[in-house]
Symmetry: C6
Subunit: 79 residues, 6 copies
């Protein structure tokens, strides 16, 4: 199955670091699903990467995605 919204089609990762990377990717793939044009997205990315408010808002989205991924992985608690 080809996935376009969740890389690997799974929320399970080996570590918090990988969970965090997945959260960033999932957040970006929603933006891609909403605005599929690569050129437009690239231009908008320049906008938000240089704007303090938007950088903070990106942080909010990633924090929300990560909360779900962390719960899926039982917070990677030591066994």
């Amino acid at each position: 199955m080809t996935t376009t919204l969740v890389p690997g089609n799974s929320l399970i990762t080996a570590s918090p670091e990988e969970g965090r990377a997945l959260a960033i990717k999932m957040a970006r793939l929603i933006i891609k699903a909403t605005q599929p044009d690569d050129a437009v997205r690239s231009r908008l990315r320049d906008v938000y990467a240089n704007d303090a408010v938007m950088l903070i808002q990106v942080g909010q989205v990633v924090a929300t995605e990560f909360a779900t991924i962390a719960a899926a992985n039982h917070y990677w608690r030591p066994g």
Copy 2:
């Protein structure tokens, strides 16, 4: 029963990828319920698909819907 807010009238999906697609649809159906006029919605969609702040906010809504869907599916954890 005809559903207009939750496709299939269920939060249960086969995979994270399908759960993510459901989250996007559910977010859009709330916008449709709030603004039923197709022409207005189409115009507003052009607005937010080309605005960095709004694209990030769409991401926030989808992340919130997905958190609920993921919990409903026990995060699709392997057996």
Copy 3:
């Protein structure tokens, strides 16, 4: 008992579709409690139904209400 904030005074619904409809109603009833004047509310509704940012924010509120309702109903998981 007359309720003005939670229709039926219960979070339990028969299906996700009905849970979603309840989330929309509960969100609107908070706006009504904050701004009881029907004419003002009607005017403001025209504003947000035609503004992309506000439509997305309405989606965020409904997503948050729905998360609570879905948990209350054990996500309507099949028995």
Copy 4:
């Protein structure tokens, strides 16, 4: 004990309707703690009760408070 932030110093309520009312009160009491001047608060209340964006944001805060209160009450599920 005099309480100024949580009426009755408890999150437990008899019904969803009362839980919702508590959520509204708790949200207002945080605003009061941040801006204790009654005259200023009254003026600001006129502002947000007549602004579509702010009404939606009030809805977001109440939805967040209610999520906590609903969990505290096991969602008032029938016994």
Copy 5:
């Protein structure tokens, strides 16, 4: 140990009222960690205490902190 982010270095409180007060303090201490200059913070506090949008946003942050504290205390449910 000197703490600068969590008074008493614990999320456990005797009551909802004290939990709410802790949520307010924790929210303020993050602002202090981000902007350590007392004079700047005092000036900014005058700004947000007199702005309707910002007062509502402060309420959102406190509601989020309180959700965590309430869960930590099992919602102070009667025994």
Copy 6:
């Protein structure tokens, strides 16, 4: 393994104070991943550290990250 998103590659901390510090670091590392240029980030930091709205939004992001970390640590409840 070198980590760039989660210091120590773990959500487990000895105390709420350390959990709070981790939440701040994780929030900053997402901003760094989105805007890797140190000079740009430093300039933007001056912007948000002196703006009331943005300081509150930073507080919101940290509160969201902390909710996840606190759950991972069973809220550091006494044994």
